[in-house]
């Protein structure tokens, strides 16, 4: 089976700071791949390169069978409809209601008639998925951190993407809410049968959600295995994370 995301020899640097060095990875359909690394190790840069929010220095990135560096802006926009993205800061539009936040991605990808007929149902379904139907007419500022994260996830889900990218999904949340978000990520994957790329340094979240983990150390793919196997590793650099 062809991987949904394949990265080959990716390099990215900011001046003299080489953030990613010959990085390789692949995610298969329906799989949850986690990238574990220290703060500043290049995890967020990697995920932003994959969605083309940052340009890479060299390397190949195939997303859903398309080389994203060869796509024009219209093709890239169409591809982005199939890739959901959950930002670390949630990035909810704070001047819009929750309904408007969720409807926003539909503006570009659905026709006016489609939106008239189906937008309301799509918004309600996405909110039901994250258990926050009652917040539909509220503003983001009225919600707690955990609720905002769920709404951001609902917005990422509204176009029913084939791949979802999570950038530090549990950062800044208390342990109970973090667990709730991790469970939500699993239930979403079950319902939509989507693949996921999870960037995190929260071991509990990675343990709960991932099928496979890549350890990103100094911009390289240092190790790759299941969470349990990496946990048992005697390598001091890997052990450092789990101790």
């Amino acid at each position: 089976m062809e991987p949904v995301i394949q990265i080959k020899d990716l390099n990215k640097s900011f001046g003299d700071n080489h953030v990613l060095r010959n990085f390789n990875m692949a995610i298969n359909a329906g799989e949850n791949l986690a990238i574990l690394g220290k703060s500043g190790s290049g995890k967020s840069v990697l995920i932003k390169c994959i969605i083309s929010l940052m340009e890479v220095d060299s390397g190949e990135m195939i997303v859903l069978g398309k080389d994203i560096q060869l796509l024009n802006s219209d093709e890239l926009d169409s591809l982005r409809a199939e890739v959901g993205f959950l930002f670390q800061s949630n990035a909810l539009y704070d001047s819009m209601t929750i309904r408007e936040n969720l409807e926003f991605p539909l503006r570009r990808h659905w026709s006016k008639e489609e939106r008239k007929k189906g937008a309301d149902a799509a918004v309600k379904e996405a909110l039901e998925d994250v258990g926050l139907s009652h917040t539909i007419d509220m503003m983001p500022a009225e919600l707690s951190g955990g609720m905002r994260k769920r709404i951001a996830l609902a917005r990422a889900l509204i176009l029913k993407p084939k791949v979802i990218m999570y950038d530090e999904p549990t950062t800044g949340l208390d342990p109970i809410t973090s667990r709730e978000i991790s469970n939500l990520m699993l239930s979403v994957q079950k319902k939509y049968k989507s693949a996921a790329l999870i960037i995190s340094h929260d071991l509990n979240c990675i343990k709960m959600t991932s099928n496979r983990v890549i350890m990103l150390i100094e911009g390289t793919r240092y190790a790759e295995d299941t969470y349990e196997n990496l946990r048992k590793s005697e390598d001091p650099k890997i052990k450092e994370f789990f101790d």
Partner: protein, 260 residues
């Protein structure tokens, strides 16, 4: 030696900024010509720029018209030219006072608003979120705002002229007496297309400059919340300065074309 180095750095930063604003403007023209405009957001921005600034422009224009009349009266009385007050106020308001004052108010209110709003959207990744959702944030956020300020500043300036003249009418009637009809007759009689057209054209440029600079500063905001504050402040300063420079150019061009 240190001073020379510092001046060089300031020079570099200045020219880099000018280049980046030019690039941003070129991107605006590239994007605005592409199909599928965000008309709904454009109307929303017109409302925000126009309606929400109208009170401020109106009050300022009224006071300017009133003050101008009261302060000019003694000099005109000295030369026995008191009857020229309505003409003088109308020409001053149309040619210079209303366009420049309206533009400065808009630079303060709209420029800083755009700088702060887009800046905060940039640092909280909302602009990235728009891009990821397949919406062109430049078209949705920048093009609509620049077009709205380009359209609304001339309208606000025209309303400012009308309200300023009402202030002038009150000013004339504080010490003397002139009928409503005679005041407006004299005010319009003194005006020609050579006064109105250049004034209207320059307000389009003022509005465009305010929109471009406010959006440029906000869209390229960096350094978290500190950067947002900086964007808002510098948007006002640069936009106000550009308004004066454009006004100077407009006066020279009008003069060269023999419209003064």
């Amino acid at each position: 030696m240190g001073t020379v180095k510092l001046l060089k750095q300031i020079d570099n930063a200045f020219f880099r900024e000018v280049g980046e604003i030019a690039q941003f403007t070129a991107r605006f023209f590239q994007t605005v010509t592409k199909p599928k405009q965000e008309w709904e957001e454009f109307v929303n921005q017109c409302f925000w720029v126009g309606y929400k600034t109208l009170t401020l422009v109106g009050i300022t224009a009224f006071i300017m018209g009133l003050v101008l009349t009261i302060q000019s009266r003694p000099t005109l009385v000295e030369f026995g030219a008191e009857s020229l007050l309505p003409s003088m106020v109308s020409v001053s308001l149309v040619r210079e006072i209303s366009p420049v004052i309206t533009a400065l108010i808009c630079a303060g209110k709209i420029g800083s608003g755009m700088g702060a709003e887009l800046g905060s959207m940039r640092v909280t990744e909302q602009i990235d979120a728009m891009e990821v959702s397949g919406t062109n944030p430049f078209k949705y956020l920048v093009v609509t705002r620049v077009l709205a300020s380009t359209v609304m500043v001339p309208i606000l300036s025209s309303v400012g002229i009308a309200i300023g003249l009402c202030g002038g009418y009150l000013g004339v009637n504080i010490r003397g007496h002139i009928s409503w009809n005679l005041f407006w007759h004299q005010a319009f009689e003194a005006l020609s297309f050579g006064d109105l057209i250049p004034s209207l054209i320059k307000t389009f440029f003022f509005g465009f400059a305010i929109g471009i600079i406010g959006c440029y500063k906000g869209y390229n905001s960096k350094k978290g919340t500190e950067g947002v504050g900086q964007s808002a402040t510098t948007a006002v300063i640069v936009a106000s300065l550009v308004v004066f420079v454009l006004d100077l150019i407009a006066v020279q061009v009008t003069d060269l074309l023999g419209l003064t």
